[in-house]
């Protein structure tokens, strides 16, 4: 059972890491524009087009 003393802190640490990532995302506005983020990857910004090699 002594493995618990090792595994429980690991599980909690992983959970806490996730929680910090989430609060960071909320605070820095990552959820402010979900639609824009989804559409922005479709915008072509390669102008002028890079030369074909």
């Amino acid at each position: 059972m002594s493995v618990l003393l090792f595994l429980i802190p690991v599980a909690l640490g992983l959970g806490l890491a996730g929680l910090f990532a989430f609060t960071w995302a909320v605070r820095t506005g990552q959820f402010d524009d979900p639609e824009g983020a989804a559409n922005r990857i479709l915008v072509d910004e390669d102008e002028p087009l890079p030369p074909k090699s």
Partner: protein
């Protein structure tokens, strides 16, 4: 580029008021560290193509350093340095085909956004705690019988160490609200929630300290997690509805031009108008505050009185806010600030309507008022019953707590917000902006529709009656009309189609146009301008050289989709009637075109509200659809109300939802609202059924933390899935 190009056609025809160009956003520009900053609300952008076009177009302007569009809420943030006028940015967007208006950052959006983030953070913490405590709880349940008591107690203590701070942090939302309600001597849904969560946590601490078998730490955090999801969705819906209402108000072009004593003009926000300000009303501009005209002018008061014919005003007459200037620019002295510029009657009626409406009780509230006392008495009875039958105090408390936990209104608190946010999201895609969640419920129960005519059933813009004008005359008049932006001129140009423009057209504001056509002088304008006998029945005259003046008549055209839309309403079992402030013959014509609907003409705002009162007395639940200032009282008094996107902001704020794109959306709103109501009732029915099964089991003492965890999660997931189920009539 293919994706971007495939998405063309996104910008639709602006649905805003006709004849009002891009409003000058200059008063809303803020200076920050040598940069100018402006936030614009852009309507119509919804894909990557729009995004690229808007950001690219604005960035190409000289001096622009940053332009970023938030596609979710339509806000475009622009930062620039240099002399670029803000008007030019707005005009660029207008030219691209998007409506743009300044966004006022002081409109309270920041506070609601902060509240939403607080809920989201609380939800994250509760989710973290729920996941980790559940991990430990499952080990306890799975190891039952094999696990030593010491290990179990250790796991319980670790659970407690996670759960107690999480409950204290994430539960604040509910504790504060419950405390607030209790202090006023009322009970809301948060009272049983707070009681269940704190009792479960407290009991578990005692149980763990005693080395007992059952701890409810997992139940208290999971409960909070589910409830916070519902609460967050609710807050999000309210914020989005609020923002939509704000944006629509912003699109009304809430700026005005102030004239200083020395004759210099300055563009100001409508909110800055003070009584006695000297204002310059440009051609086509909407009057922002009640004012006394200092010059003669011609105004369209269709939004104020419902009268579709333009009114000629002489100097000294009062013009109400909401009128549109059809003539040349004129000066006026403000009588009141923009916020006070409501006819006192209408303001009073609005207030009365608001009071009536806030008395409406939501289905969820009704459910809670039955639910709270029932659950609490059942738990109390279970406690007393077990104690009386000789059970030890510890066991009686355990059973009472498990009854409270298993009956906690998880499904109830999720049932309404999830259904509402799904319905609101679907309506949003169709261009219908919902103001609040309970609006959906009221819209669903409406059975009688009262329509305003001008601007609602009709286009609210003049159309030339082509039949009594010869093709020749029309072609010649159009050569002059194409040079002018006056609404009547544009109606002629529209009727004639594309064609040549006469050389050197001169426009005399308020009177008409003059030009040389094949060597002869042609005039288009008022009766006095062309020298016609002054008669009231024609709004415009055309005269070529010395020939007899030709009258040009205009009518307010029925919307193309009106007949189909009303048929759809009839199929839904709705009756409808027209109550208009316009003249008898015009209303009768429209009613006949709509298949002989009931109608009332020449109705003043008071007549309109009286009609609604009469319908209420008959026991009808009325849905009012209207756009004018004269409808605002009726809109706020009706059981439910809708306003089109081009309506006065007063009317929009008095109504439950604002629709764009045409009358079809009225029927669509009703359908969506009824579907949402059905879903909601199904969910409440399900919650009731769940409690009927779960409560006897809990009272009998068979509920362990494992059973509680399964029952709670299962019911919440089922309710959510039912809400997300697409409706039969939904698009896609």
């Amino acid at each position: 580029m293919s994706v971007v190009e495939a998405a063309t056609g996104c910008p639709e025809q602006p649905s805003g008021p006709v004849g009002v160009g891009a409003a000058d956003p200059a008063p809303f520009v803020r200076q920050r560290g040598g940069h100018n900053e402006l936030i614009l609300t852009v309507r119509g952008a919804r894909c990557a193509g729009c995004l690229a076009k808007i950001e690219g177009g604005v960035r190409a302007l000289p001096g622009v350093e940053e332009a970023r569009l938030n596609l979710s809420n339509g806000r475009l943030r622009i930062a620039w340095s240099g002399p670029l006028p803000a008007q030019r940015i707005a005009q660029t967007l207008e030219d691209l085909g998007y409506d743009a208006a300044a966004f006022d950052p002081s409109s309270g959006d920041e506070a609601t956004a902060r509240e939403e983030r607080r809920l989201l953070t609380a939800m994250g913490v509760a989710g973290f705690a729920a996941a980790n405590v559940m991990l430990l709880s499952i080990s306890v349940w799975a190891g039952a019988g094999e696990m030593g008591a010491q290990t179990r107690t250790l796991l319980h203590w670790i659970s407690g160490a996670i759960a107690i701070p999480a409950v204290a942090f994430a539960g604040r939302v509910f504790f504060q609200s419950a405390w607030g309600a209790l202090r006023k001597g009322r009970a809301n849904m948060d009272v049983p929630i707070s009681l269940a969560v704190s009792l479960a946590t407290g009991f578990s601490v005692y149980e763990t300290a005693m080395g007992g078998e059952h701890a409810y730490f997992d139940a208290s955090v999971t409960l909070l997690f589910f409830l916070l999801i519902g609460r967050y969705l609710d807050a999000r819906l309210r914020r989005r509805a609020h923002a939509a209402a704000n944006d629509l108000a912003a699109l009304q072009g809430r700026t005005a031009t102030r004239l200083s004593e020395s004759g210099q003009t300055k563009t100001i926000a409508a909110g800055e108008i003070e009584p006695d300000d000297l204002l310059l009303i440009a051609a086509g501009e909407r009057v922002a505050a009640d004012l006394v005209a200092l010059d003669d002018g011609l105004v369209d008061e269709s939004l104020v009185s419902g009268e579709s014919a333009p009114r000629r005003v002489a100097a000294g007459e009062t013009i109400y806010a909401g009128s549109v200037n059809l003539g040349g620019p004129f000066k006026g002295r403000a009588l009141a600030s923009a916020d006070d510029s409501l006819v006192a009657d209408i303001a009073r009626m609005l207030e009365a309507g608001e009071q009536r409406r806030s008395a409406y009780r939501r289905i969820a509230d009704k459910a809670v008022s039955i639910y709270v006392p029932t659950v609490h008495s059942v738990a109390a009875l279970a406690f007393i019953g077990w104690l009386a039958s000789g059970a030890p105090l510890h066991q009686a408390v355990f059973i009472a707590v498990s009854t409270l936990i298993i009956t906690c209104p998880c499904a109830l608190a999720l049932a309404a917000p999830v259904v509402q946010i799904v319905a609101a999201g679907r309506l949003f895609q169709r261009g219908i902006y919902l103001k609040s969640g309970d609006a959906l419920e009221r819209l669903a129960t409406a059975d009688h529709v009262v329509f305003d005519k001008t601007g609602t059933l009709t286009l609210g813009a003049p159309r030339l009656i082509v039949d009594d004008v010869s093709q020749d005359t029309l072609a010649q008049a159009a050569k002059l009309a194409r040079a002018s932006r006056h609404p009547l001129s544009r109606a002629i140009a529209f009727a004639a189609g594309d064609g040549p423009v006469a050389a050197s057209v001169k426009e005399t504001p308020g009177l008409g146009l003059e030009a040389e056509l094949d060597g002869a002088t042609a005039r288009l304008g008022s009766a006095a301008w062309v020298g016609a006998p002054s008669q009231a029945d024609a709004s415009l005259w055309f005269r070529l050289a010395e020939a007899a003046p030709v009258p040009l008549r205009f009518e307010d055209h029925l919307r193309g989709e009106a007949v189909a839309a009303l048929e759809r309403l009839s199929r839904l079992g709705m009756h409808f009637e027209i109550v208009s402030g316009d003249r008898r013959n015009r209303v009768a014509e429209i009613a006949a075109a709509l298949g002989g609907a009931d109608w009332t003409a020449e109705a003043s705002p008071t007549d309109k509200t009286a009609r609604l009162e009469a319908l209420r007395a008959e026991g009808k639940r009325t849905l009012m659809v209207g756009d004018g200032l004269n409808d605002a009282g009726a809109l706020s008094l009706a059981h439910a109300s809708l306003a089109p996107g081009g309506a006065m902001d007063v009317s929009q704020s008095a109504s439950d939802a604002v629709y764009s794109k045409g009358l079809e959306n009225v029927a669509a709103t009703i359908e969506a609202a009824r579907c949402a109501r059905r879903r909601m009732l199904e969910n409440f029915g399900f919650a009731a059924l769940y409690n009927m099964i779960a409560v006897p089991i809990a009272v009998a003492g068979f509920v362990t933390p494992l059973v509680a965890a399964i029952a709670m999660s299962g019911s919440s997931i089922l309710v959510t899935l039912n809400a997300l189920r697409p409706s039969a009539g939904s698009p896609k």
